[in-house]
């Protein structure tokens, strides 16, 4: 019997201010790999499921560039520094205007981006 691959259920808050009246959640199911990071799973979605997903990521190496910052399951964090979980709700960084999907305007937040507390 074939072994059933474990999966991860991801809901991402998407929004294109030119196209959508309001943000909406989109669901994706991706393979669960315990050694992959949350950012790896976003990249998996981009590569295999949905090329239109907008998110930032530069170093992809664990907390050097910090541009990938988002909110996952209610916590503000760097998705490149944390392993993926079985269920994830991913939202843009709160307190900053959303430019599209997970991309926010770092220049127009309530506080300086470097001072945002993250896990």
């Amino acid at each position: 019997m074939m072994e059933k691959r474990e999966t991860t259920w991801i809901r991402i808050l998407r929004y294109d201010p030119e196209k959508n009246l309001a943000p909406f959640f989109q669901e994706y199911v991706v393979p669960y790999e315990r050694e992959n990071t949350i950012l790896d799973s976003l990249y998996y979605i981009y590569r295999h499921l949905d090329g239109s997903l907008a998110f930032r990521g530069s170093c992809f190496a664990g907390g050097w560039c910090k541009v990938c910052i988002v909110k996952v399951n209610g916590k503000v964090l760097l998705p490149c520094k944390h392993f993926m979980e079985k269920e994830m709700v991913i939202e843009p960084l709160p307190g900053y205007p959303v430019l599209r999907d997970l991309i926010v305007d770092f220049a127009k937040g309530k506080q300086k981006i470097n001072e945002v507390q993250k896990e």
Partner: protein, 574 residues
Amino acid sequence: MVEAERMDLDVLIIGGGGAGAMAAIWAAKEVNRVALVEKGVFGKSGCTPMGVYSMCAAFGYSDPADSPKLHMEDTIRQGRFINNQELVEIYTQEAPERVMELISYGAKFDTDENGRLKQGMMPGHSYPRACFFDRRTGPMIMGTLARKAKRTPQIRIFEEVFIIDLVVQEEGPHYAIGIRWADTTFIVFRAKAIVVTTGGGAQVYKHNTTSLDNTGDGLSLIFQAGAELADMEFVQFYPTAVCYPKLPGLSPTAPAFLRIRVGAKLYNVLGEEFAQKKMPGWRFQATRDLLAQAIYKEVIEGRGSPHGGVYLDVTHLPPEEVKKEAEFGNYYNRMLQIGVDITQRPIETTVSAHFFMGGARVNAQGETNVPGLFAGGEAAAGYHGANRLGGNALSEILVSGSRAGKFAGLWAKIIPEKKIGEKTLEKRLAAAQQRIAQWRERKTGLRPIEGKRMIQELMWEKAGVIREGHKMREGLSSLESLLEEGERNLMICPEKRYNRELLDTFEFLHMVQVSSCILRAGLVREESRGAHYREDFPFPDDGKWLVNILLTKSEGGVKVRTEEVKLTHLRPQR
């Protein structure tokens, strides 16, 4: 006419890492209209913020016997005499001044009880000359330079804009066609001088240690604009990069710290300490080229660890000693957090593409052969020869970046304001617009991300750590087919705002260009030297190959020529 925002400039800097920021700061001392374009977020993207530890400058604080001259000699010797010795002399002499300049902008370094910079030892250097700030030297430098650039009123910063084409003219001015990632609108920069500081392109390899941004954009752009590229065959592979377990939250080069600072054992699956066997003093002597080749041989000859690396082990050392050393940069605790106790078990480590020694051929002013086109940082060739020493990148980008910026500024001062070449520009803009429309309209075809993956696989196989003529030829012909397919078939989603596939498409095209330059140069050099190791020519040949291989675009192809290295300061000993 294609709709585009226009901007008139004295100097345009393309690429906002450490070299770019430095170039902008220095250009702004000469002229008033300076712009810096960065495809990511300025101060955060690129490779400078990924620099972990060392920035070498021969202050001689740790050992007064050290000097810039000795730093120069180490750099040339370990660069296997391929370096441009004039550039290395300038670099090693100016490095301490540029570090002091950084400090004047607010940079912080670890200091001793006398308030002098601490200086650590790095492999291949004859004296300890690595300045550092904990294990955050790169982010600290980038943060400092970004703040300085943002506070300089002459500098305008454009973020998340990528340059897709350069229109250069003999008499100037040059044009750079950019696209805003935010909304896919065009922005055209007309500049008297352009400085390219876009770094290297290690992303053309499947395994790499660099930021995803590092796709060789600038090298591809200036090559297509007629600039000469040098030493493209020399790609540095980092010997002990992360392999297994993955270490999110630590640098991809983190295991090197166990090797150099802690004194790890390195062994294959049979338990053989192959590096120790070949070179007893390997911990401080084995440069990246030699160690990477030794490790990769173990892997391809079947003696590698389960995940395709070799073992790096500190379990033979007293745990207290390891923990004390690994307090540095919080390594021990961070690894423990992700389930790895380095005092209890070894980790696997492997080779990974890290740095381009090759790039734009520049003179001491950072000028390419195209008037008004300059390059600095990793995008410029000549400083590191055939193998870069650890710690030489972060200081070299300061020197080469500042010089390229300064001389671009001086050039812009003497060039009169002209508005020629608008027609060519319009044609190229229209062509770009049409191309993008075609990519968007296609419903089936090649997705750029898949194209990029193909390049990465191909380059790793055909032009990786260990090379062979027939493999490189195969690689070149596969690349040509891939480019043809790309031209016919590229397809992206229609999104206007923050379209990652659009950015990936241009990166794919740049990666093809840069990869083909690596393969062409690699085929010409029929010897092994530094980072370029050929199974079919396994030895260096000083009689024949103390040359630089230079590539330029020509009608319907690539022109290759070689030029003897000028051994003005140091010669190889027979």
